[in-house]
């Protein structure tokens, strides 16, 4: 019996039924423009503000500090472009998601100086490197909270302390942390923080930028005075309601032992696969990691062929990062960790969600070694090495 197993939660997650039920009425019977004066608008406004409270509780901030956006990419761009001016200096890392990396490159073209810092072999940034990179004109530090490919958690609290000491703004892309780690903007000491709805069981096209109360932010879009003039455009009512609900559920799951359960599943899968495959391992294991992610390498295998083989057997995982056509590109994260190109190409990311089951993990433990050994039988490199 062919069963499809989804282990690519860092790419996207399905809605939870409760989230879908929460948003459903807002497409038809409870529609409205939250800016309208009449009852339809009032009801919509109420729903948006309720969601804002839910998200604020999730991030431990004030509701007024929440800006709803179209997703993580918009939130990151809004943060980077919103608080910097030509002549400013920005510090970021080589392992950021493209939403930050490519935005930072665009900042360079728009007159900002940008420093891209490297990471250690575990994919973790050294806060002291950030301190050393500070310049008199440094305006912003942008470091992700957890990496999407390896799951490595970055020392954001230490970076927040450095930022505050230096009087520099700190933005963190928390897209891959939301729902996996508790997020407290006070503890982190960040001024800006981005999350995305669809990585935490809300719909695609929803996101949030936390903007600390006293920060002046130049908008990306000009239009109405929505979101306190920080993000023009009619609110995505149903999406925002869903994101609020998803944040509420995620907060509860974090308290109820979901991360520990996920980590146990992930660790069991990781150990079993590595043990039965041989000449394999996991990246970033010496770093603290989000509980759902493991990035495994299998020497003498082409990652792209392994992803396809596994998908044909029903197991959905990912390798590298996908470009527009769907082909895999070499991972800039593993490259920054100085993983040799061959091994980077032979690396696959498995990312679980709260919907993952022990049966899913059992299936992966059975399927992966089988697929790897089949590919190795066909590999001239493997034959030569063994």
């Amino acid at each position: 019996m062919f069963r499809r197993i989804y282990m690519d939660a860092n790419a996207t997650t399905p809605l939870l039924p409760e989230v879908f039920e929460a948003m459903r009425p807002y497409f038809m019977e409870r529609f409205g423009n939250a800016s309208s004066v009449h009852s339809f608008g009032q009801r919509a406004r109420g729903a948006v503000e309720q969601a804002r409270v839910q998200v604020a509780e999730f991030l431990h901030c004030r509701p007024a500090e929440i800006v709803f956006t179209s997703g993580g990419t918009e939130s990151d761009n809004l943060a980077l472009f919103g608080v910097t001016r030509p002549g400013d200096h920005v510090i970021t890392t080589a392992i950021e998601h493209h939403a930050v990396l490519h935005a930072a490159e665009a900042l360079q073209h728009a007159g900002r100086e940008v420093t891209f810092l490297g990471v250690d072999a575990n994919g973790v940034i050294d806060p002291e490197d950030i301190r050393r990179a500070l310049r008199p004109n440094t305006r912003l530090i942008s470091v992700m909270m957890a990496n999407n490919e390896t799951g490595a958690i970055q020392p954001v609290e230490a970076i927040g302390a450095i930022a505050s000491e230096a009087g520099v703004l700190f933005h963190t892309d928390a897209v891959q942390s939301a729902g996996k780690l508790p997020i407290d903007v006070e503890k982190i000491g960040c001024h800006l923080l981005a999350i995305s709805g669809h990585k935490m069981h809300a719909p695609q096209g929803t996101g949030v930028l936390f903007v600390r109360k006293d920060i002046k932010l130049e908008p990306l879009f000009y239009g109405g005075s929505h979101e306190r003039q920080r993000r023009a455009g009619t609110e995505n009512l149903a999406g925002i309601v869903a994101l609020g609900k998803a944040a509420e559920i995620a907060a509860a799951s974090l308290r109820d032992g979901m991360p520990e359960k996920l980590a146990a599943l992930r660790d069991r899968m990781e150990h079993a696969i590595i043990a039965s495959v041989g000449e394999a391992g996991a990246h970033s294991t010496a770093a603290p990691r989000v509980p759902n992610t493991t990035n495994l390498w299998f020497d003498h295998v082409e990652g792209e062929a392994l992803v396809i083989s596994l998908d044909l057997k029903g197991l959905a995982v990912s390798g590298g990062s996908a470009c527009a056509s769907g082909a895999s590109e070499p991972s800039h994260v593993l490259t920054a960790m100085h993983v040799p190109a061959e091994r980077a190409r032979a690396s696959l990311r498995f990312s679980l969600s709260k919907l993952s089951t022990a049966e899913d993990v059992d299936a992966a433990i059975a399927l992966v070694p089988e697929a790897v050994s089949k590919l190795r039988e066909l590999s001239p490199h493997y034959a030569a090495a063994n």
Binding site: I308, S309, L312, A324, S325, G326, A327, K374, L375, L378
Partner: protein, 370 residues
């Protein structure tokens, strides 16, 4: 009808390969659609002379999306395999090198040899497909008497692609299906329409896939400029076969044998490029009749219908894609080299192009003209 075999279909997003997928699906095969991502069309876009947009070129996103829609329509799994590094190494780099040394390359053959029938077959096997199917117009069959796989011209001679396939090995031929070999292009479009493929009327691709606009000189400039280089200065003299200097040229890469335009020699009757001497940066020009060659030499051979050439063989030789094959006798003239002596002299034998030998419908083999 149900078949147990899994076949990987090389899908480009064009009518031909899409129709192949539809035909094999109807025959009951289990299919996996594959597209090789070979070149990033946006890479050189916007450089001097290069188009801003990549619309309608092979490997463009439009084509990948077209292929994806066909796969969706046929309900088959479909993947894009990134082979940009290998394509650049095995096709684009040699293409650039050949032009810079005064030869006229055939990138489609290199791509077939190194990517489509090497990498793609490897990938297919890795994902559980022993054979691949492509939309090439060609036929192949096993001849038990000779114990060899034979490559033959297709039913639609106007679409014949065997010239680009002479490098296929026996092993590659044995693992490849050319389902369009017995069809004519209008029939293929009709089948595409019957199968409900939205792209049944999509125009054929024409030029070299990684050179939008078709101007290779602009491409060479843009490609070298990207890595901070420029086309090396190979300017020099235009000379006649008698050694008379009749003009100057701006670089040997601008010429191909048989070329008449762009010589800038004032003369009552036209001059043509006869040959290009890369070492001396000389372009030898002459009259139309001087373009005729009675023989050619070809190296780096591949034999298909015969295990190897022993003695002489009467064949028809095709010296470029759009060339009416000419009768010749081929003999071995050195290590991995043959000489083809034409019955009637042929015009513009061009180093860098392939010489492909035919015995009627069959491809005997071929090599690279030196």
């Amino acid at each position: 009808m149900t078949q147990t075999e899994t076949i990987a279909v090389a899908m480009s997003g064009g009518v031909d390969s899409s129709t192949v997928a539809a035909m094999l699906k109807a025959e009951g095969y289990t299919l996996v659609g594959l597209t090789l991502q070979l070149w990033n069309q946006r890479r050189l876009a916007g450089r001097p002379g290069m188009p801003e947009s990549s619309e309608g070129r092979c490997c463009s996103l439009d084509d990948v999306y077209d292929a994806r829609r066909v796969a969706e329509h046929l309900d088959i799994p479909y993947y894009v395999v990134n082979q940009q590094e290998r394509f650049e190494r095995d096709v684009v780099e040699p293409f650039v090198r050949e032009y810079l040394s005064g030869r006229t390359p055939v990138p489609c053959t290199l791509c077939n040899n190194h990517l489509k029938f090497a990498q793609l077959l490897d990938t297919a096997r890795q994902i559980g497909a022993e054979r691949i199917a492509t939309g090439h117009y060609a036929r192949n069959e096993y001849d038990a008497v000779r114990g060899r796989w034979i490559l033959k011209r297709p039913a639609d001679s106007s679409k014949d692609q065997t010239y680009f396939l002479f490098g296929l090995t026996q092993q590659q031929l044995s693992r490849t299906l050319f389902p369009l070999g017995n069809y004519r292009k209008p029939d293929v479009r009709e089948i595409a329409r019957e199968q409900g493929l939205a792209l049944a009327q999509k125009p054929d691709s024409q030029e070299i896939c990684f050179i939008p606009g078709g101007d290779y000189k602009v491409f060479l400039d843009a490609y070298l400029a990207e890595r901070g280089e420029s086309i090396p200065d190979t300017s020099g003299e235009l000379v006649t076969t008698d050694g008379e200097v009749v003009g100057h040229h701006g670089g040997i890469h601008q010429f191909t044998v048989g070329q008449r335009k762009g010589l800038n020699v004032s003369s009552p009757s036209p001059f043509y490029v006869l040959n290009i001497n890369g070492a001396e940066r000389r372009v030898v020009v002459g009259r139309s009749e001087e373009l005729l060659s009675g023989a050619l030499r070809a190296r780096t051979l591949n034999w298909i219908s015969i295990p190897e050439l022993s003695g002489e063989m009467r064949v028809q030789v095709k010296i470029r894609h759009r060339h009416e094959p000419a009768w010749a006798t081929i003999t071995c003239s050195g290590n991995d080299e043959v000489t083809a002596t034409f019955d009637e002299a042929q015009r513009a034998v061009t180093p860098g192009q392939a010489a492909v030998f035919y015995d009627g419908e069959e491809v005997v083999g071929g090599g690279w003209i030196v």
